[in-house]
């Protein structure tokens, strides 16, 4: 039901929202999986699009499609943008990967950029952000701030991106308190404020006093605020929703990347790159550290500085898995390929990873 509803929604709402029409301007286009009003993932991409508008508005015209369902429908949406004269198309969800590759093969003169996937082509570049860097710092803060020594972690789906985040958070927490515990609840949705709130209440009721989320709404953080507990934001800075509870938020900043890529098309220097940017590139930004004492803040800032300078990598080998086996070479970061396929918990997480 949900799927075809989303498809129908594309028919209903998928009219490209076109800014000022001008034939001589370069047309840059975006495809979002959610509504721009989610105040999370798609919202943040749209902030990036607006930044392009602002920076290059005299030479570039931007267009976006929102609420595009992953799967066959996406191909039609992307192809329509291609036919309408878009010169560069950003497809921002994992499930747009195959459709992007297919359409790109038909339109070799158009540049495509796909986020969070792994398939490339002569005119398809890929990009993603190293969210796990922020989560390591969050783990350190959580271990310092928690009185019960237990965090509640609300998660969407067991894909490597999310598992990597949990592991990174726990590595950070263990670096401060080796006995730190985490309780994990999967809500099996990226976005369902009600369910996220339910999960948050249950976790707080079971003794977690810090909430972490890898879902997109502000609901868990609001529950933390209501209960007088602490938490971390996700994708956007959510401080307005939890002025007394938010410690920091792991935000995505696509602005510089989008501006640079569109500029490259203007200059004729665009190449299909493989970008996995982190704090160093300004793609992952922790919002201001709040509601914590100065020493914790300093620790967090130090870690951020070390990650930025490359002096430290959250996944420095050897990493001990739950079953006791280890991966990675001593003193060296795990290779990116290993991270992108992560399907195991590290030692210290008393839970079973759903397969």
């Amino acid at each position: 039901m949900k799927k075809w509803m989303a498809m129908a929604a594309v028919l209903a709402l998928g009219v490209p929202a076109t800014a000022a029409q001008a034939a001589d301007k370069l047309k840059a286009c975006w495809v979002y999986v959610g509504p721009v009003g989610d105040f999370g993932y798609s919202y943040q991409h749209d902030v990036g699009r607006k930044a392009v508008d602002k920076a290059l508005g005299d030479k570039v015209e931007t267009v976006f499609l929102e609420n595009v369902a992953e799967g066959p429908d996406a191909e039609r949406a992307i192809e329509r943008l291609a036919r309408e004269g878009c010169k560069i198309i950003f497809t921002t969800s994992f499930g747009f990967m195959d459709p992007t590759i297919k359409v790109a093969a038909k339109y070799p003169d158009i540049k495509f950029e796909h986020a969070t996937g792994y398939k490339k082509a002569d005119n398809v570049g890929i990009y993603n952000a190293r969210f796990y860097e922020g989560r390591y710092v969050m783990g350190q803060i959580a271990a310092k701030m928690s009185k019960t020594g237990t965090a509640g972690y609300i998660v969407s789906f067991p894909i490597p991106e999310v598992v990597m985040g949990i592991n990174s958070f726990m590595l950070g927490a263990q670096s401060v308190n080796p006995d730190f515990k985490v309780k994990i609840v999967w809500v099996n949705s990226w976005y369902d404020p009600g369910k996220e709130a339910d999960a948050a209440k249950v976790l707080l009721g079971q003794g977690a006093d810090i909430l972490v989320q890898h879902t997109d709404s502000t609901a868990p953080l609001q529950e933390a605020e209501k209960a007088g507990k602490l938490g971390f934001g996700q994708s956007s800075d959510m401080i307005k929703f939890a002025p007394k509870a938010q410690l920091t938020s792991n935000t995505d900043d696509w602005d510089p990347y989008y501006i640079a890529r569109v500029q490259a098309v203007l200059d004729g220097t665009w190449k299909p790159d493989d970008t996995w940017g982190g704090m160093k590139d300004g793609m992952v930004v922790l919002s201001p550290f709040t509601n914590m004492p100065d020493d914790v803040k300093k620790m967090a800032e130090d870690t951020v500085a070390k990650i930025k300078s490359g002096e430290f990598h959250p996944f420095t080998g050897p990493i001990t898995k739950q079953d006791g086996t280890t991966v990675g070479e001593a003193g060296k970061p795990l290779p990116d390929g290993e991270l992108l396929g992560m399907n195991y918990y590290i030692k210290g997480i008393d839970d079973k990873l759903p397969q």
Binding site: K2, A8, F39, Y43, P193, G194, K195, K240, Q355
Partner: protein, 307 residues
């Protein structure tokens, strides 16, 4: 342990109330012989209107009223199309869902990312502090009580009053009701509006009490669950309470079990509320006589009065 039990029970109540509100409204609509599949859309519009009105006036009760009114107005559109223009109810209901979700997104554009106004919980000094029972019985927001009052009222009106008899007559045998001189279309308009108001209220509960914020698609399919609960209840009001709370309980228990680290796959736990609801439905449907007696015979049938 008491604290944990309490938090689980309180969570169950908030998770169940929106389902209950939307379902009891739809039950009345269906009892009058109309099938309105637009619950999800009316909920979304109710949620955004309630949020917006509360934000602008600073008063959550204004928000509650706005949610109710918005749901009723949208249902009036459905009523006009299906009752006056005699369009297909299924198609119109589906269109109403799409329209409602889209319109809510449009109306709510400027509300995204703004913290909302929270509907206060009741607090009776002394009573609300009684361990365990106090917060459950005397510490809810007023919509929780209202939802149960509505169920009691619907049950009473439908089965103990003449008005209820007329509603059921219209739903069971529109020609007979018409022949007796009752305005089939008029009764249905009122029932459809009642259903819309309840759906709007359910949406308002989401954006004012459950998770005080507005984000697109925040109804997340609850309207569809409410529709299913009506069938689950075999159109009997008190069974909706059982259904809504059963659904809420299993959802919240699933999270609870996960947090305890019991190795049951989370996908199974997420599916469990649906599975259990279907199983109970199958058991209930076993009693054919009861099902046939309570299913509105004219459900979804158009009515055009003879001129």
């Amino acid at each position: 342990m008491n604290d944990q039990l309490l938090s689980v029970i309180l969570t169950i109540i908030t998770a169940s109330t929106p389902l209950l509100l939307a379902a009891i409204g739809e039950l009345v609509v269906e009892r009058s012989g109309v099938l309105n599949l637009g619950v999800e859309g009316m909920m979304a519009v109710g949620a955004v209107s309630g949020f917006g009105a509360a934000l602008m006036t600073g008063n959550p009760y204004v928000g509650v009223f706005a949610a109710l009114a918005a749901g009723a107005v949208l249902s009036l559109l459905f009523g006009f199309l299906t009752l006056t223009m005699v369009s297909n109810q299924v198609a119109t209901g589906l269109a109403l869902t799409l329209l409602g979700l889209g319109a809510a997104g449009l109306m709510g554009e400027s509300f995204v990312g703004q913290p909302g106004i929270h509907l206060e919980r009741l607090h009776i000094p002394g009573l609300s502090e009684v361990p365990l029972i106090g917060p459950i019985l005397f510490g809810q927001d007023f919509l929780v009580y209202l939802s149960l009052i509505i169920v009691a009222a619907v049950s009473y009106v439908l089965f103990r009053t003449k008005a209820g008899l007329i509603i059921r007559a219209v739903g069971d045998s529109q020609q007979s009701a018409h022949a007796l001189g009752y305005s089939v279309v008029g009764v249905r308009y009122l029932c459809v509006m009642f259903g819309g108001a309840c759906s709007g209220l359910a949406g308002g509960y989401l954006s004012l009490a459950y998770t005080p914020q507005w984000v697109e698609n925040m109804t997340a399919g609850r309207g569809w669950i409410a529709l299913a609960l009506v069938v689950f209840s075999s159109w009997l009001p008190w069974r909706i309470v059982a259904g809504a709370y059963l659904f809420g309980t299993i959802t919240v228990m699933g999270f609870s079990l996960q947090a305890y680290g019991i190795g049951i796959p989370s996908q199974l736990l997420s599916a469990l509320p649906y599975i259990v609801t279907i199983l109970v439905l199958v058991v209930i449907s076993g009693n054919r006589a009861l099902m046939r007696a309570n299913t509105p015979a004219c459900l979804g049938q158009p009515f055009v009065p003879d001129r």
